[in-house]
C-alpha cells in the first residue's frame, strides 16, 4: 500500500453530462503511483466522510489524474460546484486496481452508467485489442464514448430508453460480442445486478472476469473495516474490504446472493 494525502489544484473542471463532472487534479506523486482501477478518496468540505471516486485516467505527462463523477447526493453536489483553480483534498491512489494482461491480449470492458470511467485506462492499455460495451440510462447521461474511441477501442453503446445507441442492457450486447469473438479477459463496473449478470456470462463462456465493486466507506485504506463485501475463497465465505482487497475482485470470488 502506497498512497498520499494532500491538498491539490484542480487543473480542469468540466461538465460531461446532465449530472456528470470531470476533474483533472494536478498531483505529481499520486499520478506516478496510480494504476487503472484504483480510486481517490475526496474530501468534501463540511462532510465527515470522504467520497471514493475511481481514477478515470492517469496523465503522467501532466502529473495529474482525472476523475469523473455523478451527482448522487449532497456530497457530490457540493463537489460539482468546484472550479478550475480551486483546491481539493484527496487521498490516492487507493485499492488494488485491475490486473492488466499484455496489451496484445483481447479484452472487453463493460460499463454501466457511472461505472464507465474506471474502465477508460483499460481501453487505453489494450487499444485496438479492446472492445467496450457501455450502457447508460439515457442519451443525457452518456459520457466518455469519444475517449474510448480515441483509445482505439471499439465502442458499443446502449441506453435504457433507446435515446442513443441500442435500446436495452449491456448484457445483450456483451453476449453478442462474446459470441463474435471470445476475449482473454472481461472487466466490468456498474450497478450490482449488471455485475452479477456479467459474472454469469463470464462463467458461461469460460472467460476470466474482473469486477470493480462499490461499498460505503469511511477510512478508504483498510483500517476501519467499514466497506465489507462478501467474497468466497477456497469455498469459504468471508468479508473482504472494497477499499483494500478491492475495489477490483475476480468475478468468481464475489458472493452476490446477500
Amino acid at each position: 500500500m502506497n498512497y498520499r494525502q494532500g491538498v491539490f489544484t484542480l487543473a480542469k473542471c468540466e461538465q460531461l453530462a446532465e449530472t456528470t463532472y470531470s476533474f483533472v487534479i494536478t498531483c505529481h506523486e499520486i499520478a506516478s503511483l496510480a494504476k487503472a482501477g484504483q480510486f481517490a478518496h475526496l474530501r468534501v468540505p463540511g462532510f465527515s466522510l470522504r467520497r471514493p471516486i475511481s481514477i478515470c485516467e492517469v496523465l503522467p505527462q501532466e502529473g495529474a489524474i482525472r476523475v469523473v463523477f455523478d451527482i448522487r447526493g449532497e456530497g457530490t453536489k457540493a463537489l460539482a460546484t468546484l472550479k478550475s483553480g480551486d483546491s481539493i483534498d484527496i487521498m490516492a491512489p487507493l485499492g488494488n486496481g485491475f490486473s492488466l494482461l499484455e496489451p496484445d491480449k483481447k479484452a472487453i470492458v463493460i460499463g454501466g452508467g457511472i461505472g464507465v470511467p474506471p474502465l477508460l485506462e483499460i481501453a487505453k492499455h489494450y487499444g485496438e485489442n479492446s472492445r467496450a460495451v457501455l450502457g447508460f440510462r439515457s442519451k443525457t447521461a452518456v459520457i466518455l464514448q469519444n475517449d474510448f474511441a480515441s483509445a482505439g477501442c471499439g465502442v458499443h453503446l446502449c441506453t435504457d430508453d433507446g435515446s442513443m445507441g441500442r435500446k436495452g442492457f449491456v448484457t445483450a450486447i456483451l453476449k453478442e460480442q462474446l459470441d463474435a469473438e471470445k476475449p482473454d479477459i472481461l472487466y466490468a463496473c456498474g450497478p450490482r445486478p449488471m455485475l452479477k449478470a456479467v459474472a454469469a456470462l463470464a462463467k458461461e463462456y469460460g472467460v476470466r472476469c474482473q469486477l470493480s465493486l462499490e461499498e460505503r466507506m469511511a477510512c478508504g485504506v483498510g483500517a476501519c473495516l467499514g466497506c465489507a463485501c462478501k467474497t468466497r475463497k477456497d469455498g469459504k465465505e468471508t468479508y473482504s474490504h472494497v477499499c483494500k482487497n478491492g475495489p477490483v475482485f475476480e468475478a468468481e470470488e464475489v458472493v452476490f446472493d446477500e
Binding site: 498520499r4 494525502q5 474530501r43 487521498m91 460505503r216 483500517a223 467499514g226
Partner: protein, 304 residues
Amino acid sequence: MSNLAVKIAGVTFKNPVITASGTYGFGREYECLYPLSALGGVSLKGMTPAPRMGNPPPRVAETPSGMLNSVGLQNPGVEAFLDNELPYLKDKGTVLIANVAGSTIDEYRSICERLDNSGVHMIELNISCPNVKQGGASFGTSCENAASVVRAVRPMVKHVPLMVKLTPNVTDITAIAQAVEAEGADAVSLINTLLGMRIDIKTRRPILKNNVGGLSGPAIFPVAVRMVWQVASKVKIPVVGMGGITTWQDAVEMMMAGASAIQIGAALFTDPYAPIKIVEGLTKYLDDNGIADINSIVGQVQPW
C-alpha cells in the same frame, strides 16, 4: 522543550495521542504516511478469542458531523493476531493496546489470559459488547455486569495494566466507572460510540444492514467531555478520553476535563494526519503558553 509524555497505570506514552480501537486496524494502513512511532500509542482493532466475520454491509453511514458504524467486531481472532500482527508491531516504538471483546465472561477471560504476557503493553477491555447469555444487553450498561467481567478477567491480567472502556449509553456512567474501579481496573477509557440510526427515505430501509450502529465523530464531543469530566471526579484511576476529538484544541479541552491521554477515532477518516497534527498542536500550545508539562493541564478545568 516541554514534556508531552504521560504515564498511565505505569505505562509511559511519549505523547498523549493514541489512535482509537477499530479506526486504525492493526497499525499498518497509515504507515506510508507517518511511522507508528509518532503516536503515543495505538489501540488495536477489537479482538475476540475466535475469528469473527462481523456484520453484513452497509456498515457505515454519514451523519451531521459524525458517522455510524456497525462493523460488528470483524477480526481474525487472537491467535492470528499473535501470529501475524504482533511480531510486526512489536518494535514500532509505540505503546500497543490490545482492545478485547467477548460475548461471554469466559471469552473475556480466555482472551485476556492469552494476551497478558504476549508483548502488548496494555489491555483495553471493551465492555460495550452484548452479553449473549443475558438477553443481549451490553455488559457495560449495568454495574453488576460490568463488575463481573472485570472481576473475572482481573486475575488473568498480571503483566500489563487493565484499562476498561466504558459505553456512553447509560444513565450514570460514573457508577459504572466506580464499579470497575472497585474490581481493580487500572484505568478507564471513554467514550465508546452512542447508539444511533439512519434511514434511507427512498428505500424506507435503515442505511446500516444492522439497523443501528455506533455514532462517533465531532457530533459526540460535548457528550464525551461531559462524561470524562464526571468520571474523572469520581474515580482515582486515570481516565483516557475520546469521542469526537478532531483538533489539538479538542485534545486540550478533553485533557482539562480530566483525561490523562486521549484517543482519536473518526477524525482519521476525514484527515489521516489528524493525530500528527494534534501532537504538533499540543507541542506548540505548551510552548506558546509556557507550560512545561502536559500533565499539568489534566483535570484543570475549574467548574463554576
